[in-house]
């Protein structure tokens, strides 16, 4: 994966397969502490402790079509290249939390990538799932909450083509605003 955004697109699909209805994605760029932190919390079906131990193994997957699953192992590898970590906590029936930390100024830390584009794909491609995206850079924060968006839309489908285009521009502007400061 070239950037963090693509990792998010990949890993959040696990949450969706696990029947999550609410997914929280938080990026916390703690520049002063030299830490870049990504948190993904879902309310999907969760995993047993034995499964949690095995998901970082590339030869573990819940898929039945093939015997390898690279999503989590690749993210873990990228984090560890920078001296960071990937920690999974999960409880069956409650959900899963993936916390990934990177060293902020490490040359191996992947760039943010097209976060707005990935959010658009996730949000409009999974209309029945709610997302809460929070991006913190020092004291600046941007929050994107699909519950608010859906309320504003009052029944008009979030995957209407014109709405999709509007949302993607809105996400881009909102995220760029804090990134460029």
């Amino acid at each position: 994966m070239k950037d963090i955004a693509l990792h998010i697109l990949d890993v959040v699909n696990n949450s969706i397969s696990a029947k999550a209805t609410f997914i929280e994605i938080t990026i916390d760029e703690q520049i002063d502490a030299n830490i870049y932190e990504l948190n993904i919390i879902d309310n999907g079906r969760g995993m047993s402790p034995e499964v949690v131990q095995r998901v970082t193994d590339p030869f573990y997957t819940t898929r039945t079509t093939r015997k390898v699953g690279m999503g989590i192992p690749l993210l873990k590898q990228n984090a560890e290249h920078t001296g960071g970590t990937l920690i999974i906590t999960s409880e069956e029936g409650k959900g899963t939390n993936i916390k990934v930390t990177f060293e902020y100024n490490n040359i191996d830390r992947p760039p943010n990538g097209d976060l707005a584009g990935v959010l658009t794909i996730l949000i409009t491609g999974n209309a029945e799932v709610d997302f809460l995206y929070t991006h913190i850079i020092r004291d600046r924060t941007v929050v994107i909450d699909t519950r608010e968006i859906k309320e504003a839309l009052e029944g008009v489908s979030i995957d209407n083509p014109q709405i999709i285009r509007y949302l993607s521009e809105m996400f881009e502007e909102n995220i760029n605003e804090i990134l460029n400061n």
């Binding site: 697109l9 839309l153 489908s157 209407n160 083509p161």
Partner: protein, 132 residues
Amino acid sequence: MAKVKSLADLRKMKEDLQSKVHLREKGDNYENLVQVKVGMGTSGIASGAKEVFNFFVDELEKRSIEGVVTQTGDMGYNFAEPTIEVTIPGKEPIVFGNVDMKKADQIIESYIKNGELVEGILPENYDKIDNK
């Protein structure tokens, strides 16, 4: 912090949309639309499936083709990512492999518009080995 685009604008736009007669409800008439499914498993994403997805969303609209673009999981053709499945109304679905922007453009122009097949079809598609 003045946001250029906000939820208030979104509400306004929604009203504009609702006032138009032509508001296609998704899921109503899937059979009559061109369907493009983009395989977005780990290997698909790593090979550029996201760009291909966006390309189809933009280009189908630009070229006035009524269609839906959806994401799907891994299709099992990891040697030929990004992989897409195209269904033209009334025809069997066809899976194309190694789809980059150039191939995507070809698929729209030749297959979706004119029904001519283009190279890159995964021949294993729906064909069991004992049928060969």
